[in-house]
Symmetry: C2
Subunit: 135 residues, 2 copies
DNA sequence: ATAACTGTCCTAGTGTGCTAGGACACAGAG
DNA sequence: CTCTGTGTCCTAGCACACTAGGACAGTTAT
């Protein structure tokens, strides 16, 4: 489990962590039930205050991605979505629309966009398969 | 041209404006060469300081979406992308990946995700067609 | 019981992003 | 030229997000 923080990125450190954990979970590097690095050790490794990591983990818990147990540790949740199908659709539409609007401004046509989406889905599928193999 | 600001949203006002202009441009409500509302009049309409609107327009110009002329006004650009194909791909991948990762955490499978993308592309296409007709 | 872990709460400093008002510079109509 | 419109620069205040250190509470093994 190796995370990389860019202190010159402008983006808050704790949000960089949130993205990377989400990414790791979606690409199979982290599996359901597995423990995340302890807050203090990860903070020391990244040269960051404990509370910065704690804030990231807190945000991830409120997103339903992980579960935190005082005294035990933080673990990736298996059942990741406490939302109804309708709410999930709405959340996804927001992000999909952003990508669609950006594609329009970048003058990427419909077919090229769909190809890219396919490619990225394949990319994540392959990553998951690779992780399964090395189990 | 009607914009809606949510002051309780937490998201900065000027970024809400940026999103809405991008959305309006991508859905055909704004066409290339058309003028945007004047900074002062839009600011008054939205009950916001002029500089807040100015900051939004400034951001949109640096994104290559509009062009601002001191003394004349702000206009939607026609040739919207000063980026190479490679850079455009990279920018798009970032947004597509975010949507893909979110879909994974929301337990939306590949087919449902592709259906949603198709649906949203259709949605924008229909909006553009409707705008063309009312020309 | 003690020690060494775990995550959490409280408080505070510090920077900076956001918003705001005044003054300036350019364009066009009268 | 003048007047009114346009966008822009400068400065400042103000809030809040981000980060940070100390103290606390739960867990587990020795």
């Amino acid at each position: 489990m190796v995370f990389q923080i860019d202190f010159k990125a402008g983006k808050p450190v704790y949000l960089q962590l949130v993205d990377q954990v989400r990414y790791a979970a979606a690409s199979g590097m982290l599996r359901a039930g597995e423990p995340l690095p302890a807050i203090r050790s990860l903070a020391e490794e990244l040269r960051v205050n404990r509370n910065t990591v704690a804030k990231a983990y807190d945000e991830l818990e409120s997103q339903g991605v992980i579960e935190n147990f005082p005294g035990k540790g933080c673990f990736l949740k298996d059942n990741k979505t406490p939302f109804t199908k309708q709410v999930r659709q709405k959340l996804l539409i927001k992000e999909v629309d952003e990508a669609v609007v950006t594609a329009h401004h970048l003058q990427v046509d419909r077919d090229a966009f769909l190809d890219l989406v396919d490619e990225r889905l394949d990319f994540f599928d392959r990553k998951i398969s690779a992780s399964e193999k090395s189990k």
